[in-house]
Symmetry: C2
Subunit: 238 residues, 2 copies
Amino acid sequence: MNLILFNEHDFCGDNRICLHDRRHQHIAEIHRAQPDSLLRVGQINGLSGSGQVMSIDDQQVTLQVSLIQSPPAALPLTLLLALPRPKMLKRILQTISTMGVKELYLLNSYRVDKSYWSSPLLAEAAINEQLQLGLEQALDTQMPNVYIRKRFKPFVEDELPAICANTRGLVAHPYHAIDCPEATLTPTTLAIGPEGGFIPYEIDKLAHAGLTPFHIGQRILRVETAIPAVLSRLFPII
Amino acid sequence: MNLILFNEHDFCGDNRICLHDRRHQHIAEIHRAQPDSLLRVGQINGLSGSGQVMSIDDQQVTLQVSLIQSPPAALPLTLLLALPRPKMLKRILQTISTMGVKELYLLNSYRVDKSYWSSPLLAEAAINEQLQLGLEQALDTQMPNVYIRKRFKPFVEDELPAICANTRGLVAHPYHAIDCPEATLTPTTLAIGPEGGFIPYEIDKLAHAGLTPFHIGQRILRVETAIPAVLSRLFPII
């Protein structure tokens, strides 16, 4: 937790926040904060800055906050991701959030096991918990938007063309693929498939909607490795 | 397991291998192989190719192998990594192996918890198990070399200058850092610190030995995210 994130419900006075939960615990046990200690704090979807400890005890910490700093730049990216298996989903949500992705579609695909869709990790609160951990890591305050699309074809036919209009449309895929384009801050729509990849029918549909297959080499990467490798290659600054 | 890896002890005849362990189980349960099924196989530190199922039962699978293909190119990289905590070490060894790193030093650093050095995951067999999983993912056969260095100063003073001589020497570090150099196939020596980063004394020592601090952006990435992001940025092909 490089940044203590809070929201409007944590305010308990003018520029003052009171924290009770894992954040209190972290401040007490990891930072070993005392009155007057300074911590990095940020308001979700707002500014970040410093928080001065006014009081701390076993139950609660009270901080006087001074918020002056804008969050780091977001990636100009909409990411379409075939729903990963639940164990990986947690880490991937954190990674995506840490790297500055702000628009994420979790998508069905032929090789997505149906059982993944009933994971409790897909509840909005569970997703937001992982995204928040990612923001805390990156000193970011801007929560990503996550959209769940359980049907591949209607999404790709009805929504995707508008999403990827006027963007660099790409799908990470090893076959019949162009070399990875150069890093730019061009608005981008990027699809990454499941373990085992999109099937040819899906690649055809994605291509028809405007996404060009590309690769970064011949090695087959796991999705959790491919995401940072590909994002880092497509954008000059993370 | 995109590739079934075997070694010389698995031979049970001319160009014939007999497998009993998790590989037999994988071939039976995931591939649902039958006699005459073709599988991708590779000999550790040798060639890869195809394996034709000669017989399969509850105990064993026998494959006739034809080995013709060289492993994918390795990254021209020596990676120095502050020892990660054990839970992360497993995944990181797999990632490194999948991405084609062949020379890895696991290094002490001020922010490495001493307890990490007594992890059973540092036993040679345990390390090789994770590396092998990474190779299977990437269709690679060439096992990485892993060197353990429990003392930072003697390593950096006595060994590192020779390791990084005539290479592109870099340390991933957010402060007083140059922008990430462009992707090339230049032989490279790269150091990545622990969670929390190298301390200034360590950065000074690494710089003195020939490693220049660089960054890929202002976000603070976890080590497991930083590795694929940085490798993908430094080399044109993974």
